[in-house]
Subunit: 111 residues, 4 copies
């Protein structure tokens, strides 16, 4: 698999990591932070794994598919939790997670 | 500056990043999460900068001193906030931050 | 400074980190790897600092300007070294570094 | 699995990431860099995945076992390649990789 083929997936992972971090810090400023605790936790886990998947792909690594497999799973979990909250940062994060999960699924089976 | 001389500082940065992440996720499980919001935010910023400083030093980079300068600052800020809370994870994080700030200060001026 | 204002700079940092990693692994496959050693070294340092700057900005951190200051410096150094080599990956990396340096300079003085 | 139980594995991953980065930059300064190209490439992949595993564990994530599974694999591959070279940085890296692979294997099956 060439770097160019990795490119769409790298972009989705990076966009998702940024959306997750932004969602986490925005959640911390909400009135009811406690209600957002699980969302923040998943945001942080998802951001960490997305960053790792993006980096491993940008190195053209043969382990990319394995990282993308885990990344798709955490993205789906994060999308489900974020999707429960109506705030714009949560909805935007859920969408970024869903898109990232989709391309990571493809990468996980394609490589 | 040799890699061996970087070693103590790398270790302090890595230990601080781990303590910050652990403090953040522990804060998310506290009864009063809202009271911990600023602590969590600083934990995340501090962890990110500590990881970066450790990585740049482990590459033997000439930019290490610059990263350590920023790292010392965020560690001091995080130590101050964490130090306000009596929970063990906050106290342990404050201590890791203080130690990291100290060695990063030395690195920032020594290199 | 709002997250939206950080957005252009985050994107430039992330794109630069990816270009640096791709350049490093591509250099490793060149016939004369020794000639590329300094390029690879700077690619790795630049990628690490760009990733850190992007993460800190995505957390909306008050330390963003400080990271962007260091990031602009390493990007300029990496652009200069990569610019000496005619390979497409080096030229693309040099361009990503120059763009990142420019927006990081603005961020470093604006925040 | 508690954070304390993660601790040994986090330490092994972090130590391995640092050893891999140091090995990579040391390889870049060897007389025959071309001979070290595969070693450098694996060092970079291994460092990235070790950092990710350490971070995910420090967040107490339920995805830790999955990351540790991938981490054990890349550590074994990196240990094999580094083990072929007599330089101290390669031998030290190979040893760090072997230790990390061992504890990651345990984590991957235990969680």
């Amino acid at each position: 698999m060439s770097y160019q083929k990795f490119r769409e997936c790298i972009d989705a992972c990076v966009a998702c990591a940024v959306a997750c971090n932004y969602c986490a810090t925005s959640c911390l400023q909400e009135e009811d932070v406690k209600m957002m605790a699980k969302c923040i936790q998943l945001d942080l886990e998802c951001a960490a794994i997305c960053r790792a998947a993006a980096e491993v792909m940008s190195l053209g690594s043969g382990y990319s598919a394995h990282l993308c497999r885990v990344c798709a799973d955490v993205c789906n979990a994060c999308a489900e939790e974020c999707g429960k909250h109506h705030m714009e940062h949560c909805q935007a994060c859920a969408e970024a997670c869903r898109k990232c999960a989709e391309v990571c699924e493809q990468m996980a089976t394609a490589v």
